[in-house]
């Protein structure tokens, strides 16, 4: 089991060049006693933070711990209520990103800020344009940017537009932009959350190269423990707006870090109990479908989920999982095959009808499909039941008008779910978009679970969440399984799949290549199968 193993720096596949532990290293940045409060929340409660020249310093914390707020203060996007910032020992005042950039501070946000329609080269030089007379000097710019590209392995086509680039390439453009701005301190907000595994490796190499010369220091915001350990020299842990500790990355393991970050022991592996299996709650037979571009991505999938069982679908994204979920939920037409919910044919029925039969859904696209981000937390919690009593009065919808709706019922409902699911929100009236990722997922879970489903489609329910929220959501799923619910779990995380599932179906290129009971396989074997390298024939596939 993972937590009993000695900690390894496994994430990047290699140990970092060396941990900086000399105290003689000058602090190029010091943030002292930083405090910032938003209405209802203290985001930063007198935090101290320092950064040495040439180091990579992780800021580790759960969603909503105040990591991004602290960095937005440094970057001039927020004004601090109290505290001071020193650069090279001199006190500075940073009131806008412009001030930050001129002090050598650049920040790469979680969601990239490239200008669509402008070629890469113009995006890189934006704000720092070299000119010849009144005109842009694109020749000079190109020469300078190409030199940076070569030095740090950041090759990107300079004439391409952002919309033609992959996520990894866009990130390279953001890094180039920061370097071109002459950054001495580079803040990266959750830089790996959007990357593919091989892109993460590449990013790590680049970061090491950039700091090796000592001219650049990096602040790395993350909630992922292995990343923090593998990527950084030191780690500062924040919890609920407070600084917990600063530690040398080489001297800690995941378990102690997790305890500092969450404030309690975290179980990476939750034990699951035996359950009584019932009949087939959900079954699909020979299901085929096409994706948005018209390509056939689902090429005949057959599987079933029993009551009291979790069927895990393992596979790399883009092998037909998305289309499978869409078809089951009635969001995409099946071109062949059938879907049976408790024995009833629901192929190509409407989502409303399918949900009416007791199928719950935790979508991968939380913001797009999971919630209505401009509506309140309370209203989001009754979505789907909003037309029914006690939330609606007769035939009128509840949201329009206080006179005809049961706002009180909606509030009470929300209040009880907020407590039960540990949603961190000041009131049910809070807009859903203002919640953190972990809390949005808890909201969706609370809503689906409160609607009394028998079957749940959970599409990557824990991706992108911090370990505390992950554990919480996994526990809830296992609880529902024990109550005899049938759960279809789609995940790319092999640890999660092997921990949660009773049986594992491996999906590759639109087909199920194998379905095996979890006791008869290993993580390594599944890992090989999802790449199409091996297949294990099993009677269940027939």
């Amino acid at each position: 089991m993972r937590e009993s193993e000695p900690e390894q720096r496994t994430w990047s596949g290699e140990t970092p060049s060396g941990t900086v532990d000399t105290t003689e290293n000058e602090n190029i940045l010091e943030m002292r006693n930083i405090a910032k409060a938003f209405p209802g929340v203290v985001a930063n409660d007198h935090i101290d933070f320092d950064l040495r020249a040439g180091e990579i310093h992780s800021i580790l914390g759960e969603n909503g711990a105040g990591k991004t707020t602290l960095m937005n203060i440094l970057y001039g996007l927020y004004r601090m209520d109290e505290g001071e910032i020193l650069i090279n020992g001199k006190q500075v005042s940073i009131e806008s990103p412009r001030d930050a950039v001129s002090l050598g501070i650049s920040m790469i946000h979680q969601f990239f800020t490239l200008v669509p329609g402008l070629p890469v080269i113009e995006n890189v030089i934006l704000g720092q344009e070299p000119t010849k007379g009144p005109f842009l000097d694109l020749k000079r710019a190109e020469k300078e940017v190409l030199e940076l590209e070569g030095r740090f392995n950041l090759e990107v086509d300079l004439q391409a537009k952002p919309e033609q680039l992959t996520v990894g390439q866009k990130q390279k453009v953001e890094i180039l932009k920061a370097l071109y701005q002459g950054a001495k301190i580079l803040v990266m907000d959750e830089p790996t959350s959007v990357l593919m595994p091989h892109e993460k490796e590449e990013l790590m190499k680049t970061l090491r190269q950039m700091t090796a010369e000592g001219a650049l220091s990096i602040i790395f915001i993350t909630h992922k423990l292995p990343e923090a350990i593998a990527a950084s020299d030191r780690i500062t842990i924040l919890r609920k707006g407070r600084k917990v500790d600063t530690v040398e990355a080489g001297k800690v393991n995941q378990k102690t870090l997790a305890r500092k970050m969450v404030g309690r022991e975290v179980l990476f592996r939750i034990a699951k109990s035996e359950t009584e299996k019932g009949g087939k709650a959900l079954e699909v037979r020979g299901l085929k479908a096409i994706d948005d571009t018209g390509k056939q991505t689902l090429k005949g999938v057959s599987l079933y989920v029993l009551e009291g069982e979790i069927l895990g679908i393992a596979g790399v994204s883009g092998n037909g999982q998305e289309e499978l979920v869409d078809v089951i939920m009635g969001l995409r037409p099946a071109t062949a095959g059938e879907v049976l919910v408790k024995g009833r044919d629901t192929t190509n029925s409407s989502p409303g009808k399918i949900r009416g039969l007791g199928v719950g859904y935790i979508p991968e696209d939380r913001l797009g499909r999971g919630i209505l981000s401009d509506m309140s937390l309370g209203e989001n919690l009754v979505l789907g039941a909003h037309k029914k009593r006690p939330f609606a009065h007769r035939w009128l919808l509840p949201f329009e008008n206080r006179w005809f709706t049961n706002q009180d019922q909606i509030h009470d409902h929300a209040d009880s779910l907020i407590v039960e699911y540990g949603i961190d929100a000041p009131s049910p009236g809070k807009r859903a978009r203002k919640l953190s990722g972990g809390n949005i997922q808890k909201l969706i879970l609370a809503r689906e679970f409160s609607m009394d489903f028998n079957i749940l489609i959970a599409d990557k329910p824990t991706s992108g969440l911090d370990v505390g929220s992950q554990e919480h959501i996994r526990r809830k799923l296992l609880e529902e399984r024990e109550r005899g619910k049938a759960i279809l779990l789609i995940s790319e995380d092999l640890d999660e799949i092997t921990m949660m599932s009773d049986r594992i179906a491996v999906m590759y290129e639109g087909r199920i290549v194998s379905i095996v009971p979890v006791e008869e396989t290993t993580k390594e074997e599944i890992g090989k199968m999802i790449t199409g390298a091996t297949r294990k024939e099993h009677p269940a596939v027939a």
Binding site: Y75, Y78, M107, G127
Partner: protein
């Protein structure tokens, strides 16, 4: 020599071209100017006003129209960029105010004014404003593409967050683009009353402001596209005028008057069918504020 018919058609071009150019500039930076029609109407009045009171010079009157457009543009930017009011509500409000004020002021403060002077010098029988309009299109094209100021405008309209992070003052860019754009719209109105129709009548703008607005969509927010659209519409107006002058009997005159507008609707539908909103600045109409 260019035939006289073509010249009389082309002489209308500055009215539509300048208005479209002005609207384009503010839209490119991310601000809807929905008061094009009204700002033009006020331009028609202020041109005639300046002609009467400031020494009967066409040049000074046009400059005056340009300046009043600039002032209305400042009001629009203060309300929408500085105070983040809804651009659609403010735009419509300004349309009604400016159009109404133009008519009211003309009939209260001015006697009936006839413009007797014409503009010179002429090249190929076309006045300097025609060439200035063409030059403005060329200049705007170069600025948008090859200067850091143009880059700042595009970035502000497409992704103000990125612009802000790169040290560009988003509000200032939008302020300048909206005010300057409105000045061009005012100039277009003054040109209409001073040079084309040589006098003022209430509602003389007759939908040209909205046509200019439509042409920005038609031109997909590109300078060459809008230039082409403006010339196309100018041509339609010219044909309509010639049909009226020729006194064609078998088509009702009311129908002839709306012909250019039908042409624009057809062209817009065609453009829409091909590429929908392609080219539209991504944050057009969305107020930007740091969190």
């Amino acid at each position: 020599m260019i035939p006289e018919a073509i010249i009389s058609i082309l002489s209308f071009f500055p009215v539509i071209g300048l208005a479209a150019l002005g609207g384009f500039l503010s839209q490119k930076s991310g601000v809807w100017n929905l008061a094009l029609e009204g700002m033009m109407a006020f331009g028609t009045f202020s041109g005639v006003f300046a002609y009467h009171y400031l020494g009967q010079s066409i040049w000074i009157s046009l400059l005056f129209g340009f300046c009043t457009g600039f002032l209305w543009g400042i009001l629009l930017s203060v309300l929408c960029v500085r105070f983040s009011l809804d651009q659609i509500v403010v735009g419509f409000g300004l349309w009604f105010i400016t159009e109404g004020m133009a008519g009211y002021l003309y009939y209260t403060v001015l006697p009936s004014v006839r413009i007797t002077k014409t503009m010179g010098p002429r090249i190929l029988s076309l006045d300097p404003i025609f060439y200035l309009t063409l030059l403005s299109f060329a200049l705007l094209y170069v600025v948008m593409r090859y200067t850091k100021q143009g880059l700042a405008v595009v970035a502000t309209g497409e992704n103000p967050k990125a612009a802000d992070a790169a040290g560009i003052n988003v509000h200032r860019v939008r302020f300048v683009c909206t005010a300057l754009g409105s000045a061009f719209v005012g100039l277009a109105g003054s040109y209409l009353s001073l040079v084309i129709l040589q006098g003022f009548t209430y509602k003389m703008v007759a939908g040209y402001g909205w046509t200019a607005f439509a042409l920005i969509l038609f031109g997909r927010w590109t300078t060459p596209g809008i230039l082409f659209g403006s010339l196309f519409f100018t041509f339609l107006v010219g044909i309509q005028t010639r049909m009226q002058v020729a006194g064609i009997q078998f088509i009702p005159p009311e129908f002839v008057v709306v012909l250019p507008h039908i042409g624009v609707i057809l062209a817009l539908s065609l453009a829409g069918a091909v590429g929908k909103k392609a080219g539209m600045p991504a944050t057009l109409g969305v107020h930007y504020e740091r969190e």
